[in-house]
């Protein structure tokens, strides 16, 4: 299970890319595409080499938001991306 101690990275064959024609950011994977909103993109970019917990703390202080809400949201988002095959974690 993905927890606050997990470190996530993009799965092999997955990449973060700007879709310049449509002016948005997407995750591209094998025959799939995930459109990211600004927050999701930020979380993916920040997750490199960090634990999920560390990313949440940084976001909570940056956006002046309650940590437990951030943690619930981030874990739900990353779990869903992982189940769809876009992320790996350890």
């Amino acid at each position: 299970m993905l927890t606050l101690e997990s470190r996530v990275r993009l799965a092999p064959g997955t990449r973060l890319q700007e879709d310049t024609v449509r002016q948005r950011w997407v995750l591209l994977g094998p025959e799939r595409l995930l459109v990211l909103d600004d927050i999701a993109r930020l979380i993916i970019e920040r997750s490199d080499n960090q634990t999920v917990g560390t990313v949440c703390e940084a976001l909570a202080s940056e956006f002046d938001a309650p940590l437990d809400t951030i943690q619930t949201d981030v874990l739900a988002l990353l779990t869903s991306m992982s189940e769809k095959g876009f992320l790996r974690y350890e």
Binding site: G13, R15, D19, V21, L28, P30, E31, G85
Partner: protein, 385 residues
């Protein structure tokens, strides 16, 4: 000027060639295969890639035939990488050695989709007309894994190999494969020709669905299993290609630009051809692409159906093949007057005991010749016919 109400395509499938060392009886290539002399040149394919990127395409599928039969494949992959496209190689794997794989990795290939007909040699050989393919594919899979490339194992299901689904999924999990596609045969091209011999039975179908569910549960978080149901046993049609000319387009070996790989069976439509037509003009301006786009073309009861923007009316090629009219309801839909007839056809064919396969072969016209027919050694019928 491009029509702002039409979204740009997301992905393009390039049928680089119809040449292939395999002769799969379920191949969805057209019966009239394109000979090598009519294939687009390297420079033409690079221009296709340039136009695709400009048009807003994000993913390119290099397919065929066997795309590795094109010696310029690494050059094309490299060009796709240069213009920012995510590249997917759809291959049988039998031409994949370390040197060629190395070239593709260096060219920036993003992902490989490797097809299997089964792990059992007798069945796999009979379906593909290629001796020893299963072992070659296992070697290819090991090579792709060792190279660190993302890999999807694609298992094409027919009546002959449906019983191997459990073994295939176990193999995929043991090999640490992250994504498996269990794709029931789509009955177009050669597959339509061989439908009676390929159609799975209702019992096989139920077993497949249960197995897929069980393996999804068992491998949650490490393996994604995509499952494509056979159309004929469905009650509502699939959104074929995500809707006609809404997300995808194909370029055939000779440059013909089509909304799906079977679209050329719609003889009343005239499809544009590259390089005389650009991809953008085909997509935004050609009458063939707008013929069944959106919902305006729909007859009743589709027009007043809640699902019309979900399934986009299903498949036009199937409506033509099974109901005789590309503009009518896809018979997969339970509201089609042809639906019952189609389900009965599938049930009857799946129990017909007819296991004769016509393997694909190069011909310049549609053919009903029997010279390439092969008897299939079917476990339930003992020795083949």
């Amino acid at each position: 000027m491009n029509d702002r109400t039409i979204d740009q395509p997301l992905a393009i499938l390039l049928e680089l060639t119809h040449r292939c060392p395999l002769r799969c009886a379920y191949c969805s290539n057209p019966l009239a295969l394109t000979p090598r002399a009519h294939e687009l040149s390297t420079a033409d394919w690079c221009a296709v890639l340039d136009q695709a990127a400009e048009l807003g395409v994000l993913q390119i599928h290099f397919s065929g035939g066997e795309p590795m039969a094109r010696e310029d494949l690494p050059e094309l992959v490299s060009h796709a990488t240069r213009v920012g496209l995510y590249s997917n190689l759809i291959t049988s794997g039998v031409l994949l050695d370390d040197a060629r794989l190395g070239e593709l990795v260096d060219a920036g290939l993003s992902h490989v989709q490797l097809s299997f007909q089964g792990l059992d040699e007798v069945t796999a050989d009979a379906l593909s007309g290629f001796r020893g393919g299963a072992a070659r594919k296992c070697e290819a899979l090991a090579r792709v894994k060792a190279a660190g490339l993302a890999l999807t194992l694609n298992f094409v299901v027919t009546r002959q190999n449906a019983g191997q689904l459990d073994a295939i999924l176990r193999y995929a999990d043991e090999q640490g494969i992250a994504r498996v596609e269990v794709a029931n045969t789509q009955y177009y091209g050669w597959a339509l020709q061989n439908r009676a011999a390929l159609m799975p039975s209702l019992i096989q179908l139920e077993q497949m669905s249960q197995l897929v569910e069980a393996w999804r549960e068992k491998t949650r978080g490490r393996m994604v299993i995509d499952y494509v149901m056979p159309d004929y046993y469905g009650r509502r049609p699939k959104a074929c290609m995500g809707g006609w000319a809404r997300r995808f387009l194909n370029v055939m070996p000779d440059g013909t630009i089509v909304p799906c790989h079977a679209a050329q069976t719609l003889k009343h439509l005239e499809f544009p051809r590259f390089p005389a037509s650009t991809l953008a003009s085909a997509w935004f301006e050609s009458p063939a692409f707008s013929a069944y786009r959106g919902t305006d073309w729909m007859p009743e009861p589709c027009r007043s159906c809640d699902a019309k923007e979900k399934d986009w009316g299903g498949c036009r090629c199937q409506a033509l093949a099974l109901a005789g009219d590309a503009g009518t309801l896809d018979p997969v839909c339970e509201f089609s007057p042809k639906h019952e007839e189609m389900v009965m056809l599938a049930l009857r064919e799946s129990q017909s005991g007819d296991d004769r396969l016509q393997l694909r072969h190069l011909s310049f016209k549609k053919t009903g010749s029997t010279d390439a027919e092969a008897a299939l050694l079917h476990p339930s019928s003992g020795a083949g016919k």
